[in-house]
Structure formats: C-alpha cells, structure tokens
Amino acid sequence: MPRAMIIDTDTASDDAVAILMALQHPDIDVKAITVVNGNMPVAQGSINARYTVEVCGKDVPVYDGVDAAITRDLYRAYFFHGPDGMGNMNYPAPKAPPAPGHAVEALIRVIRENPGIILVTLGPLTNVALAVLQAPDIVPLVSRCVMMGGAANCVGNITPAAEYNIWVDPEAARTVFRSGLPVEMVGWETCRGEANLTEEDMRYCKEVINTPLAHFSIDCNASALSANINWLGDPGLALPDPVAMAIAIDPTICTRASKHYVEVECDGTYTRGMTVVDELGVTKYDTANVEMWQPLVKKGEPHITVCWTIDAKRWKALLYDLIK
C-alpha cells in the first residue's frame, strides 16, 4: 500500500517540483496539500499548488491556510521566485478552486484519519504550529515530519544566521520543534552546492528527458536560478524543497543524520530564526548557558533528526525518474 503523505507548502517554484515528485511517485499517496504564508501570499501559493496538481493530472485537494506569521511582519520572496512565484511563466489559472475548509483544520483531520502519515513541510511552520497548538493529539500520529528548513551549520540565506522558512515565523518553528513531532530537518546547506542542478543537468532534463513535466520543473524555476546565482553566488539551480521531498520519499538519500536538541532563536538581534543545533551534545553537561536548554533536556533524549549530507547523484536520479 502506498505511504500516506500530507504536504504543507508556500508554493513557489521549488515547492512545485517537490509536490510534483510526490504526486508522481507510485509509492506515495498525497492525501492533501495545505498552503501557508511564505514565499507568496496564500492566494498565489494556492494557485501555484493547484496548477502543479493539474499539470500532474491529479486530483488532490489544496487547502488555503494562514496568510500571516504568528507574530512577525510579512516578508515574501518575490525577489527570489518572481512576482508569481513561478518564474513569471504566465501559466494559465488552475481549473479547481481551493478545497473547502481551512488548511489547519485539514491538517488536523487528515493526520487523525491517517495514523502513521508522513508530513512534509516546505514553507514556514505557521499552519503546522497552529495545528499542534490546537490538537496536540496529532503529534504521535505523524510517523515522520520531513522539514525543508533551517541551517544546522549556520549557512543562512535570508540573513547570515537564518534560513528563510524558519526566519519568516521563528515562533511557529520553535513550537513545531518543541512539539515532539519527529522532525527530520533538511537544512539549506545540504540543498545547495553539489545538490544544485548544473547547466548540464538542466539541459539533460529539457533535451534528453524532454517531457512536459521536465520542462515545467526547469522553466518555473527561471527566477530562482538567476537569484541563486546572483543573490547567493551559488552556481546552478538550488532545489531545496525537492531535496527534502527526495529524502521524504527515500530516507537513504540522506547519507548522514543524527539526533540533536535543536532550538530556534526568537530573540536575537542578528540571529532571528537561527536553528541552534547542539551538535556535540554539550547541553547535557553543567556548563555555561545551559539552563535555557533544560526544558528540552528534561523531556528526554534528543528527537530532532538533523540531515548532514545527501547523496547528490541519487537525489538527482530520483528527480529524473519522476519527471520522465
């Protein structure tokens, strides 16, 4: 039986490719897509998600969610993904409207109906935080919570310290990390560099694979490609959400992972939204500044899985398989 999955997303171009991968995989049954504020306002993210579902010829409900961070001011990523979030490709409007009901209620309901479900988060964690705050009973029903977010080695993309998804709503991220959800954190730093699609890779997608899905995957990321090069000085196309989705589909694509206490900085002047990973396990000793870690330490062993390295070849191979 295929594995049940629910995807929470602020759908812009790399989210679209991640959604496509899940929808195309024969062993994954996407029960719902929930849209959250982030890269785009929810209305635009919802359009992008529904269009992606239709490009795949599927019929998965897309629920609109919270169009704000819990407390922070809005900060959209138009500069990265283009005004429509989809590389300004002027795709036609999706035929289906959003599914009736709120994304947070959908998250709660779908998780309760599918114990053991995989939750994949591709955007800020506002919807998920509101779900666990209102319905903590869903936490043990989630078998894996694969999260594109954070930066375990402090390689920020929106600030030097922070990755965008966490930075947009650090309070929500903190609530999710502390909720007990079995988070597998796929940080920004594991999704760049060697993980990027090179010019050659992109040519392979468009000219050799040469399917509508292959063209869609590369074309909608046109803005993201130039932003990655010009904004972040990283050659090639970074696809963080699809990397996280690849690990959600096939955990062995993550080649080194370990469990740690992780906290989200909500108070820092320079470090808002930083994911602070206790990589060496120093908080279990009675050393400096450890008292603020005690609530976590007292709860038991570390439960956040940090993904440190991936098999870039295998992640790309999985992507190619799914856009064929």
């Binding site: 919270v66 819990i70 407390t71 209620e105 509101l130 705050l133 209102q134 903590p136 309070e171 609530p295």
Partner: protein
C-alpha cells in the same frame, strides 16, 4: 437584547466569580466559555468551566477546550499557591457529567463570531493564546467582533507575575501583541485598575450570607485565594481581577480610560510580558500603524464591588 459574550477563561477562583457575575447579569448573554492555561493547566480549566456551569444551573452553555501551550514557548505552569491544586481553592468538586464541544476554542470563537457578525464581545480573562489563534485562523473576526474586553496587562503600574509583567500577558506575550495589534476595539482592564478594586473582608463575607449555589461555591473557594492576598499584599480581602472586565461591560462609567496603541515586550529577558502603551506625544515606529487600545486607568472601586455583590444578591 442582551449582549452576547464569550468568556475565555482559566478558572481560577476570580474566574469563577467573574463567570457567575456575568451569568447573573441580564444585560449579558454568555454564549460559550473557552478555556486556556494560566491559573491551571488547560485540561483542568475545561473541567472547572463545566463544573461551574453545573453549579450555575447552566448546562446549556457550551465549553470549548483551548490551547495547552502558548504560541512560542511552553507553559510555565499553574499557580496552586493562588488558586489551589484544583484551581478552585482545594474544594475538590465532583466531575461534570458533560464534556467540551468537539471543536477547539479558537475554532469555536471563529465560528460564533462569523455566524453573528458585529454581535459578539470577547471577554478573555486569561492568557490570549486562543484569541490570537482565532485571529490567525480567520483574520476577518477582527472586523466582525463587537469588542474585546480583556483582563490583563499593566500600563503604568508594576506587574504581579514579575516586577514588569501581569500574569495573563506574561503567560503568552506573543499572543497579547497579536491581539493588541489587530484592527479591532480592545479594552484593557489591567492591573492599573484591578489592583485598586478592593473587596474587603466584610464584602467577602457577604458571599456566605447571600445563599445561592453560586455564592455558596464562591464562599467555599475564597479562603485559599484570600490567604494569597494576605500573605503577598498584606490585605484582609482580595483584589478583583477578572470580575472587573465583566463590570466594564455592564457599566463603563466605573472606569476612566485613555486611548493609546500598545506593544508587548516579547523578548526573553527580564522585561518579557510588559505591556507598553505609547504614552507620550510621539508615536515611535514600533507603535505606528497599530490601533488605539482603550486602557482603563482609574476605577470607582466601591461602586464596582457593590455592583458585583448586588448582582449576586439578585438585585
């Protein structure tokens, strides 16, 4: 027509007094109680809300269970030294035969407000987590809620949870900053007034003399609460916190108010949870584009206490 209200509550001795005060006031139509952590954990708040409605003979009023934790940090824990281990002065009431509705507090608030646009006043007398969650689930409740009359905060007086902060706000400053910042009509009934509403020993004794199920319950739960005020403030009586919000609904002329935008200190340091109105002439950037909050600054204590006692007497 009576004013429809939803009381968001963490009962709590003074919450019990406020709920009964509202139920005994024909001007008010309590259409639901929503529960929150604070004086007690949320599960106990729900149990107590149901029990209090049983005592009041109002099992028709729904109770919706709220969030167990604040928006951004885990709940710091209840205050049994104020309200008792059971939140009701250690009288250990029997459980209610009823249950909470199958809907979260935030969902209940959204549904009710959207079903009765412009008609409902929210009366939060605990931390503001449920109200902030409701705003994030459905931002349009800001336009469709008649008013928010909350017990919490301290504009120019010291706090009671810390030297800086009042307990309800301190329990979830992020939520409070969301609520004070939303485009709706908020009235802050905080320590500036409630630490000046003094129910003396003789007033407190009145509860035992009135002799109905609600006043008998209050009389039973008050000794534990009173001891806290004796030990901590050296007074022979109690300050009236949550009931002051109900009193504002019944008679706003009991209060003097100012209108200023309010921010809440959400840092994780010594100032956490302090409510900061922009008091001066100048409104600095963090307070700009925020609505004016009606802040209660002075109160006619005697008249307020008599109003509450009269309502409990049935006059």
């Amino acid at each position: 027509m009576a004013q429809k209200i939803i009381i968001d509550t963490d009962p709590g001795v003074d919450d019990a007094m406020a709920i009964f005060f509202a139920l005994r006031s024909p001007e008010l139509d309590v259409i639901g109680l929503t529960t929150i952590f604070g004086n007690v954990h949320t599960h106990l708040a729900t149990v107590n809300a149901l029990r209090l409605l049983d005592i009041a003979g109002r099992p028709d009023i729904p109770v919706a269970h709220g969030a167990d934790d604040p928006l951004a940090v885990p709940f710091g824990g209840p205050v049994p030294f104020v309200h008792g281990d059971d939140g009701q002065g250690n009288v250990n009431l029997p459980p209610s035969p009823r249950k909470a509705v199958n809907q979260s507090a935030a969902q209940f608030i959204v549904e009710q407000v959207m079903a009765h646009p412009g008609e409902i006043t929210l009366v939060p007398v605990g931390p503001l987590t449920n109200i902030a969650l409701a705003l994030r689930l459905e931002p349009r409740i800001a336009q469709h809620t008649k008013q928010v009359v909350l017990m919490g905060g301290n504009a120019i007086v010291p706090g009671n949870a810390t030297p800086c902060a009042e307990a309800n706000i301190h329990n979830d400053p992020e939520a409070a900053d969301v609520v004070f910042g939303a485009p709706w009509d908020v009235v802050m009934v905080g320590l500036d007034v409630t630490h000046n509403v003094y129910m003396e020993a003789d007033d407190v004794a009145e509860y035992a003399r009135i002799g109905n199920p609600m006043t008998e319950h209050v009389a039973a739960i008050l000794p534990h609460y009173r001891k806290y005020f004796g030990d901590n403030y050296g007074i022979d009586g109690i300050y009236v916190h949550d009931s002051s919000a109900i009193a504002y609904l019944l008679d706003p002329t009991l209060f003097e108010t100012i209108r200023r935008p309010v921010r809440v200190d959400c840092t994780h340091d010594i100032g956490r949870g302090k409510t900061w109105p922009a008091l001066g002439e100048r409104v600095d950037a963090p307070w700009q584009n925020r609505p004016d909050v009606t802040i209660c600054t002075k109160v006619d204590s005697q008249r307020l206490v008599q109003l509450e006692l009269n309502r409990m007497r049935g006059v």
